[in-house]
Symmetry: C2
Subunit: 247 residues, 2 copies
Amino acid sequence: MVDTTDLFDRIDRPRRLPDEVAVSIIGAIEGGQLVAGDRLPTEADLAKRFGVARTVVREAISLLRYDGIVDSRRGVGAFVTDASQRSSFRISPACFEKRKQIVQLLQLRTGVQAGACALAASTRTSEQMEKIEETYAQMVAADKLGPANALEERVDSELLLYRRITEASNNPYYAEVVAMIEANIQNNLRSAFLKNAAASEFGADIIKEHYAVMKALREGDVEAARTSARTRFERAADRLAARADFA
Amino acid sequence: MVDTTDLFDRIDRPRRLPDEVAVSIIGAIEGGQLVAGDRLPTEADLAKRFGVARTVVREAISLLRYDGIVDSRRGVGAFVTDASQRSSFRISPACFEKRKQIVQLLQLRTGVQAGACALAASTRTSEQMEKIEETYAQMVAADKLGPANALEERVDSELLLYRRITEASNNPYYAEVVAMIEANIQNNLRSAFLKNAAASEFGADIIKEHYAVMKALREGDVEAARTSARTRFERAADRLAARADFA
DNA sequence: TCAAATCAGTTGTCAGACAACCTGTTTTCT
DNA sequence: AGAAAACAGGTTGTCTGACAACTGATTTGA
């Protein structure tokens, strides 16, 4: 049975007008037509130009305001903020066209995960460590069954393992950032991930990489946790990048 | 002249209804009253309950949809997505109440910056290095003038220095994440930052920390860049945390 | 001269309507 | 009887128009 979870879904979903208007305005800002401090055209003006109702424009602007890209004042207008005011980090799905961007996102994940693992090595509770050991055991068991029998179990338990480790850092910011990066990678590369896992993420050598992280966590060795986690994710990224079929 | 940039601004700005509605709905989700897969009440229903117009509810829901917290389908309703679908990382200003959360954010910054510096050591161009050297020289010059004469210059050139280094990683994801964290720290702790800088971020010993990073970047030494950057930010966080007046 | 009142313009909110769409039910046809 | 088609009700998406709250500049009045 072939995995079809990432086929046949959400194609050509009906576009929403506010989103398109927002993208258009963001384009004007990123393109330099509107710079920090500039006032946007009035909502009525924008509505007329885009040929949509003012409610649509309002929703679009409210999205930009939400991200801190513009700031609107009643009775005055909406103004472009300077870039340092942006209050969110967002990965747009459209960014996954180019292979280069995937590599960059994997780099970011590597760095953040290394930090999270290092932190977890010093802050984890014994309860958290138990859960981590449990998940690790599941992963090892699935690994022994091989890619033909337990592909998804192997991949999912690995994801869960590192999620639990990240949560054991007891720093919600780390947990959130990692979760978001992971979700975006998964959503866009799930099938490639599975294929890659089947081809090059099984076996004793790979388990050794994970074991090094586990050992560091058990012993509370911060530096070892950092290094082993970084090594593990760098290598995984290399193996994934080495496969040409992920795009 | 005392710096008053972070006094007397944006107090009690007129609340916007959609934001409050959004916060209320998010609260219901985070509080567990609504779990993944649940359908939200209809917009008309919510409007009646909150005592606001439907446009207000729509704007609120559009914010949640923007963050991937809910997913709405025309003719059906809006549904809470599972947490792994969240598509943005956001630091809410309200989170800066507790000292613990500031420490956590500084931890995250340390980890991310270390990764960015390490990457920059291998990917920087010589043009980027020139700009970095230039900014470094400015910082050193401001440092020599002392906190009484060049406090803001010193702090701002340091911020610019690490922004340029991060950009030299040539990974926009790193740049964005760092910029966002930095902006949030600055917006909420600017005065504490300045005070702390005056008290404990001047002098040859501190410059040595930065110099170590610079040296690693010049030589393209990835590991040295990572370690020195981490050391530098860890120590800076420690010094800041050591001052009790930052809250 | 200078302060207060006025005014035009903009965003924030409200109310109602209709279009597009989904789901389940009923009707119709074979 | 069974399946296909039409229908009905409900929900989101969009449109329209109106008014309230507010700002900045202009005009007015003492």
